[in-house]
């Protein structure tokens, strides 16, 4: 067995105001897996994600990305880690801050020391992966929401991450954009963690699902098994849309 892309051991975290968000999380994700991270609001999903690239320093336990320890104090390794963990945030306007789409996609690789033609080809390739190549010179605020979400994915893909973390990828998308994004995500050959409330979307894209509630992992298994276990879903404030059923 190869080194897991993500390995979290006994991770606990409390906010400075004393509010404890994580109580010993254990999670291991193999290379190439697509995993849905499910859980009600306030379960600690975002806090967990913020640990994956050292935005929140690990207070207790450990997080490893492809075997490398995430250590917020070690600046050099942190830079490596942030190149390996690509987080796509929920609001694309938070992620797209440069004047044009192309420059925004270039932001990450530039910080990793890429320049000139190499940088250019990385940008073009990333935009092509999400089908946004012709929008390279456009300012982000002229794009539709779905397009901006796709560019946000490209900004992260341009860093050639080991693991792609998506925070609510389907939120606020119209059905067509939602499907287009699903097609793009499915076409990527990359380890993926998807934080979502959109259970059908999780079922569509991820073979494995993990439920986080009250700061611990309460269930870990195949998405199909989890989503057909009514009692489990109910206990964790998760619900399939009315009329939706998994055969």
């Amino acid at each position: 067995m190869s080194t897991p892309s993500l390995e979290i051991k006994e991770l606990a975290f409390a906010y400075p105001d004393g509010n404890q968000a994580l109580f010993g999380v254990n999670l291991s994700i193999e290379k190439g897996e697509r995993v849905a991270l499910l859980g009600p609001n306030g379960a600690g999903k975002t806090t967990l994600v913020m640990h994956m690239n050292g935005i929140h320093p690990t207070a207790q336990g450990s997080v490893r990305i492809a075997g490398e320890l995430v250590d917020a104090k070690n600046k050099d390794s942190l830079k490596q880690i942030r190149a390996k963990v690509g987080i796509v945030f929920q609001d694309p306007d938070d992620q797209l801050f440069m004047p044009t789409v192309g420059e925004d996609v270039a932001f990450g690789p530039y910080n990793m020391g890429k320049r000139g033609e190499e940088l250019d080809s990385i940008v073009n390739e990333a935009l092509k992966l999400v089908g946004m190549a012709e929008f390279k010179d456009r300012p982000p605020h002229h794009l539709s929401f779905g397009q901006r979400r796709r560019v946000a994915v490209a900004t992260v893909l341009a860093m050639k991450p080991e693991i792609l973390v998506l925070d609510e990828p389907s939120s606020n998308l119209d059905p067509a954009s939602r499907r287009e994004l699903a097609d793009i995500l499915r076409s990527l050959d990359i380890t993926m963690v998807m934080v979502t409330h959109d259970l059908p979307y999780a079922n569509e894209l991820c073979e494995r699902a993990v439920i986080l509630n009250g700061g611990v992992i309460v269930s870990d298994g195949s998405t199909r098994n989890i989503l057909t276990n009514k009692a489990l879903l109910e206990a964790n404030r998760l619900e399939l849309p009315v009329g939706f059923s998994i055969q």
């Binding site: 913020m50 690239n53 935005i55 830079k79 942030r82 190149a83 963990v85 690509g86 987080i87 945030f89 609001d91 306007d93 938070d94 992620q95 801050f97 440069m98 004047p99 420059e103 270039a106 932001f107 990450g108 530039y110 910080n111 990793m112 000139g116 300012p139 982000p140 605020h141 900004t155 992260v156 860093m159």
Partner: protein
């Protein structure tokens, strides 16, 4: 917003490198403000020259003058100056004016207008983003350029947010008619501030996640040729020539 000032045209002024234009504009303004107001012939020359440059830049005069109205609040006190002061007085129509105040006030208005017209030509022929690049090239501290470029990027986002909050208020029957509604507006402004502040934090997080270490990427710049410099410096140089000629004739 942000790019709203820019007027897309093909002219020699539009195509000149932005940092050269910034240098030329500042140099021209320096020449204009250091001309003594008593040398009034020079100012006539400056105005004609500014209008010629605006014409070369294919900026319609109506647009130029409409945008120049922005200076009115700033020169308001200059207009009042002839009415207050001390020293020699004289009567002009219904007004009893102070001579010194009139000269000083006219100086501010005339020089201010020249500066504003120059700035308008610059902002109409150059995208805001290009001006920022120009400033970066001129070694304005990177932090200031970054702050300004973030402002440019998010002014639309914040504006939309403000608009949505207004719609939400109005849909619940709110109508700002007077002083008693300021409380509501102030609360909304506060909420908008907090939201923008939090957005700033989220943007910073997303920047850190992509390895931000204090430098924004910028394109490698090509060196400008001496002929480019010469061409753009015609703008302040003509003003300088006008100044010299009028000074010599005056003597």
């Amino acid at each position: 917003m942000g790019e709203r000032l820019y007027l897309h045209r093909h002219s020699i002024v539009h195509e000149t490198a932005s940092y050269l234009k910034v240098v030329a504009a500042i140099a021209f303004i320096l020449v204009a403000v250091s001309t003594p107001i008593s040398n009034w012939q020079a100012f006539i020359g400056y105005f004609i020259w500014v209008l010629i440059v605006a014409a070369i830049a294919k900026i319609p005069f109506t647009l130029l003058f409409k945008r120049a109205l922005i200076e009115i609040p700033f020169i308001f006190f200059a207009i009042l100056m002839p009415f207050f002061g001390s020293g020699e007085r004289f009567v002009a129509g219904p007004f009893n004016l102070y001579r010194e105040g009139l000269i000083a006030g006219a100086g501010i208005v005339v020089k201010g207008t020249l500066g504003v017209l120059t700035a308008i030509i610059l902002s109409t022929s150059t995208t805001a983003r290009e001006i920022l690049r120009g400033l970066e090239r001129l070694r304005l501290p990177a932090l200031m350029v970054q702050i300004a470029s973030f402002m440019l990027r998010y002014v639309n986002v914040v504006n939309d947010e403000m608009e949505r909050m207004k719609v939400a208020r109005d849909s619940r029957g709110f109508e700002a008619t007077g002083l008693k509604h300021w409380r509501v507006l102030a609360t909304a402004a506060g909420a908008l501030f907090i939201r923008s502040y939090e957005r700033g934090e989220r943007v910073h997080l997303s920047m850190l996640s992509r390895g931000y270490e204090g430098v924004l990427p910028h394109d490698e710049v090509e060196k400008s040729k001496a002929s480019d410099w010469l061409m753009v410096l015609i703008y302040p140089l003509v003003a300088l020539v006008i100044l010299l000629i009028t000074t010599l004739i005056g003597n």
